[in-house]
Symmetry: C2
Subunit: 161 residues, 2 copies
Amino acid sequence: MACSIARTLDVIGEPWSPLILRNVYVGISRFDQIQQSLDISRKVLAERLKWLVENDVLERREYSSRPPRHEYTLTAKGMELCDLLLVMVRWGDRWTAGEAGPPVLYRHHACGEISHVELHCSVCDRRMGAADVDVLPGPGAEPPAPSPDQAGTDRYEHAGP
Amino acid sequence: MACSIARTLDVIGEPWSPLILRNVYVGISRFDQIQQSLDISRKVLAERLKWLVENDVLERREYSSRPPRHEYTLTAKGMELCDLLLVMVRWGDRWTAGEAGPPVLYRHHACGEISHVELHCSVCDRRMGAADVDVLPGPGAEPPAPSPDQAGTDRYEHAGP
DNA sequence: TCCGGTGAGTTCCTTCAAGGAACTTAGTTG
DNA sequence: CAACTAAGTTCCTTGAAGGAACTCACCGGA
């Protein structure tokens, strides 16, 4: 599918993957640890881990050869997916916060302060959210329906983000 | 669940929701439009829309009373979820881009440039990704297991982000 | 006035994936 | 040798997704 969102969802679209990723991110990196922490079926966990490794989001590392023991670590690709988690956390904290406040806090290495993420424009560095942009077709957009059997129908392909 | 990611996923965790949201975001806002554009089952679409409306992500507006016609629009809560989509798009473009380049581009209203989102620290405004933070337990974190029947087990609750 | 068309869903059935529990394998400790 | 742990597999059952057809309200044209 041409849509970048669909391509991202293809990798981490089903609901367990972000949670698995998050566990690996905070250091819960072994099979049984993850399984117990999430209360996920072992079968599904094995499938998801395999998929994430195949898609180069996680790496399966042997940290002991006898007995053979493995852990999962984030690749660079996977670490950038964790950025997505930070944005999810921010939204969850803002809009679905429990009574008690956010369950975790993030301290920014650079400034040492407890903080959260904001979206900024890569060009001008000012704030840039979904409400602050126009959406335009890009180079990878689908061509505008080269063989319309009936001209005049208002059926045109949408350019997926 | 205490984890903010899980709470966010509870709202838009299954794979169709982000795509539905994205369609509404770009102006594909009516039932049949969305259904055809995504090729989603009408049943599942009706369920998802109902859920998103119940969770105050979308609003169901009647834009014509006779005949009764409806469209779905984003609430403020939903618009902020679209920020998440921008980050997804960015990741998809970076890591799973097709040959042809990104299918859509975003022009920032403030500077007029084609751009993409970056994550910045809300305190110091510098870049802040998942690799740039420490994770600490927050006020809503689970208390450290008040009634351990056996002291000494290395079983402690994880604080979910 | 009746006919077909459209938007917005329901209903029903079939298939696929998730969940759960038990089993496997390799090696290690007592 | 028996029990134990980590890391999966295998098998079965239930729940959700997909698909096609049906409903309902209304409209516009012959």
